[in-house]
């Protein structure tokens, strides 16, 4: 009997695959049978992810999807896809009063314009197969809540929340599904060396009803579900994975 959760035979593009959620997602997708194309900005770390992929015929492409040149170069070397997982993202905690156009541009370019325009180009070039599934890694921040210094990050994730609704509606005609995942805090080192201290994180961790931060695989498994045929009637949804954080 075939497994509806399998990704066997599917060609999946994962951005932000050099580390964190993107890395774990790529590895777990490969274990589920997918043929991966992984991309990220850091060649060395991307190739570390690549070496951990199970199976054959995967590809790695170093690219910065936050700039047009990077997007175009990436797309020019892509085959037809059955799925995209937009993981590439940054966070630079800063109080709202200190934001400026440069700061906002930087975060919006990586977190919103990059994934949105990448999908847009792939659609234009008809590089997405019928029944393809597009997954955006959004956040609880910007949809359900925010955090101190997180206004710009929340804005970028809120923007994703909006655009997936419109995309899902229009792409349904092509049987292409678009969904997002709303993770709570995941242990990925996203705040290493930032304005948020380790002590802040230790305190924050205590606020999660399930008693821990998420692990990258908590998100990766949900991505597999949304990429697989098991979720073929799910589009335009936000899957909340936050250890109960937003219940309080």
């Amino acid at each position: 009997m075939s497994n509806p959760f399998s990704l066997l035979g599917k060609v999946i593009l994962v951005t932000g695959a050099s580390s964190g959620i993107g890395k774990r997602t790529a590895i777990e997708c490969s274990k589920s049978g997918a043929q991966l194309i992984i991309t990220g900005r850091n060649a060395e770390r991307l190739s570390q992810t690549f070496e951990e992929l199970e199976g054959q015929s995967h590809r790695q492409i170093v690219a910065d999807v936050s700039v047009d040149a990077g997007l175009n170069e990436l797309v020019s070397s892509l085959p037809k896809l059955d799925g995209i997982v937009h993981v590439a993202g940054i966070s630079k905690p800063k109080p709202f009063a200190f934001l400026n156009r440069k700061e906002l541009d930087e975060i919006m370019n990586t977190n919103f314009y990059g994934p949105t325009l990448l999908t847009n180009i792939l659609i234009r070039k008809k590089l997405l197969n019928k029944n393809a599934s597009i997954v955006f890694i959004s956040s609880i921040s910007g949809v359900s809540c925010s955090f101190l210094g997180g206004a710009s990050y929340s804005a970028s994730k809120g923007a994703i929340n909006g655009i997936i609704k419109g995309m899902a509606l229009e792409l349904a005609a092509k049987q292409i599904r678009v969904n997002s995942i709303l993770p709570g805090m995941i242990d990925t080192g996203i705040f290493d060396g930032s304005a948020i201290s380790e002590q802040d994180l230790i305190e924050d961790r205590k606020r999660y009803p399930l008693g821990r931060y998420g692990k990258p695989e908590d998100i990766a498994y949900a991505v597999i579900y949304l990429l697989s045929d098991a979720s073929s009637w799910i589009t335009g949804s936000n899957l909340l994975i936050d250890g109960g954080f937003t219940l309080i």
Binding site: F98, L148, A195, S197, D200
Partner: protein
């Protein structure tokens, strides 16, 4: 960079606390108004005024306003 100006910039991140409270040897964490948001504001102010990146750990490891000043001083190009 003068420490006096730095202390002024530091004080400017507070809304309620009287400016006279702020001296180079002030233990900033003991100011009633001190909070995680003030810490983020100090880091953002230092980035904006001095183009120096401080981390949350830098603030955590400092006690006096002058301690932060010294870190900033050591990182100015």
């Amino acid at each position: 960079m003068e420490i006096q100006k730095f202390v002024q910039n530091f004080a400017a991140q507070f809304e309620e606390t009287d400016a006279e409270v702020f001296k180079s040897d002030t233990i900033f964490r003991e100011i009633d108004e001190w909070s995680s948001l003030t810490a983020l504001s100090i880091i953002a102010m230092v980035d904006e005024e001095y183009s120096v990146k401080l981390t949350g750990e830098d603030i955590r490891n400092s006690k006096l306003i002058e301690d932060i000043y010294q870190i900033v001083l050591s990182r100015i190009d």
